[in-house]
């Protein structure tokens, strides 16, 4: 009973479609998560998807919708309370702890199978319905369109905030928009690999990509590719090795990309740099000496 056998079934096809949608969105936001130092925001919003899911179950029996609403609330809280970079991490920590406590409390009122809420912590890719695919596709489309629109100013604001501001970019507003995009993407991903492993799609592929290229466009392309290959590859392998959970395989593949990036990256990038410097004609001028304050 290998890959071919499972692919006849709707649940397996749905899983592959969902994996593609979620992974592509995560790969797209990944490079910005890194350049804006928002790994902890990813972690915080993804774990709080659990609280939102429990709330959704209690109110309308719909954990996914609950998680999405929760994500928007959490992004709003982080955006307003943690506006200064210095206080952002501590704010996320406080909201994360409080939110998880609330989630556990709410879980006590739920008399159905708690597995629906716990699925969000650990991921359940094989229970995706057609309706959920439509929701995931809509979210992925919105994320892609919004990212396409804010791409350039967001890159500018992330890399070079002072000059971006001077050129008229509303860096604060962009940061908030990106926070909402991040929260929704991450909540979507939580349903696939689980909140505990979301980082493997939202950060690891981008981190690997950054080791392999110095072009912002190529890094994004690689990041999306690595995320999609990890998610789809992990799923397909889990059909072959039914004893291993798909999230484990997804993490394993994305981690392998990172290891390759760490090992090959220095060669790839320093070769590029060396080429640059050779064409510069051996930098010996005082311009090239180390600065007093690096």
């Amino acid at each position: 009973m290998g890959i071919g056998y499972y692919l006849q079934f709707g649940f397996a096809q749905h899983a592959l479609e969902a994996a593609f949608l979620v992974a592509a969105s995560c790969g797209l936001i990944g490079p910005f998560v890194i350049s804006r130092s928002m790994a902890f925001a990813v972690h915080g919003t993804s774990e709080l998807a659990f609280t939102g899911a429990v709330g959704g179950l209690l109110v309308g029996g719909n954990p996914i919708f609950g998680a999405l609403v929760g994500a928007v609330v959490v992004a709003g809280l982080i955006g307003t309370l943690g506006r200064r970079p210095s206080e952002r991490d501590s704010t996320i920590g406080v909201i994360l702890a409080g939110g998880l406590g609330l989630g556990v409390y709410l879980l006590g009122f739920y008399h159905g199978y708690a597995s629906e809420a716990l699925n969000i912590l650990f991921g359940n890719i094989f229970g995706v319905s057609t309706g959920q695919i439509v929701l995931l596709a809509t979210i992925a489309l919105v994320v892609a369109v919004v990212m396409g629109i804010i791409w350039r100013p967001l890159l500018f604001a992330s890399v070079d905030p002072d000059v971006a501001e001077a050129r008229g970019v509303r860096t604060g507003l962009l940061g908030l928009v990106f926070l909402f995009v991040l929260a929704i993407t991450v909540t979507e991903a939580a349903q696939l690999v689980g909140t505990l492993l979301v980082l493997s799609l939202a950060i690891t592929p981008a981190a690997a990509a950054q080791r392999m290229s110095v072009s912002p466009n190529v890094v994004t392309l690689l990041s999306v590719t690595f995320a999609v290959v990890s998610a789809e590859g992990g799923l397909l392998l889990s059909f072959q090795f039914a004893s291993v959970k798909p999230s484990v395989l997804i993490v394993a593949i994305s981690f392998a990309f990172y290891v390759v990036g760490r090992l090959l990256g220095p060669t790839l990038i320093s070769r590029r740099r060396r080429r640059t410097l050779v064409s510069a004609g051996a930098p010996t001028g005082p311009d090239h000496l180390a600065e007093l304050h690096p």
Binding site: L155, G168, G281
Partner: protein, 276 residues
């Protein structure tokens, strides 16, 4: 006030407040085409805020300001901005030419198609500042001098009608300071683009400076270096006894009684910050 056709920047009885505190008020001056104005003064007197006013980021609390004949507004292509050195992460996947290109279209929404003309313009500007050789290198690996050359390219890409510089020489070695100042001055001579140059250290740019705007805790004075950098003028501005000494073409500002907040030149005297 007089308004000559060549005036690119004009302030009239301008005042600005930050956090309820008036930084400066009743500020009136204009900068003409081709002029190099150095803005000096201690930390916290509103030198950078003056640039932000001209960039349209901070509104005046009183008076008027005109840049190229109109009120300052965000994202004005006619205003070039050169910031101080920034520490970029070594792994940041942004190349020198990517950083420069942001100066042209980094603030625009939506996907982009770059015309042949804009790519040519980028190449020309990189060439003009001597950055072609490291155009493909990641910004995190560049030296301070190289990075500041990119900043000038970035500002020139929009073909600005005024250049605003905020301490662009800070922490650069002497040779790089000369190289960067020379590029800014070349633009001024060749295109007549006036330069407003905020600095705490006037000596490196002194050969280029036409006039100095000296701000001290709400008081200000404007004039040629010979008019402003005198013991009488600065004693008047600071409100304490100040001596200006000229040594081999460099100005050093000293006070016998107090530590001066920041001297306009030299490090002959040790620094202390103004209490706010």
């Amino acid at each position: 006030m007089s308004s000559t056709p060549a005036a690119v920047v004009e302030l009239h009885q301008a005042a600005v407040e930050l956090g309820g505190r008036t930084l400066w008020s009743d500020l009136t001056f204009s900068v003409d085409s081709g002029e190099f104005l150095a803005v000096l003064g201690p930390n916290g007197v509103g030198k950078t805020t003056l640039l932000k006013v001209l960039l349209g980021l901070v509104p005046l609390s009183a008076g008027t300001v005109r840049v190229n004949g109109e009120a300052p507004h965000r994202g004005n292509d006619e205003v070039g901005y050169v910031p101080q050195l920034r520490a970029f992460d070594q792994n940041l996947p942004v190349r020198a030419k990517d950083l420069v290109r942001m100066g042209l279209d980094g603030h625009r929404w939506g996907p982009h198609r770059r015309s042949r003309a804009s790519r040519q313009r980028l190449d020309d500007v990189m060439e003009a500042v001597g950055a072609t050789a490291y155009a493909e290198a990641p910004v995190g690996l560049l030296s301070g001098g190289e990075q500041q050359r990119l900043r000038i390219a970035q500002a020139l890409l929009g073909n600005p009608r005024v250049l605003l510089c905020d301490e662009p020489l800070l922490t650069l070695d002497l040779a790089s300071q000369d190289g960067v100042t020379d590029l800014i001055d070349r633009r001024r001579r060749e295109a007549g683009t006036p330069v407003i140059f905020v600095t705490h250290e006037v000596n490196p740019v002194l050969p280029y400076v036409d006039r100095i705007l000296y701000l001290v805790c709400g008081r200000w004075a404007i004039g040629t270096p010979a008019e402003i950098l005198t013991s009488e003028k600065l004693t008047d501005l600071y409100g304490i006894e100040v001596d200006v000494i000229k040594v081999r073409g460099r100005f050093i500002v000293l006070s016998a009684e107090h530590d001066l907040p920041t001297e306009p030149g030299g490090h002959a005297h040790h620094h202390s910050e103004l209490p706010h």
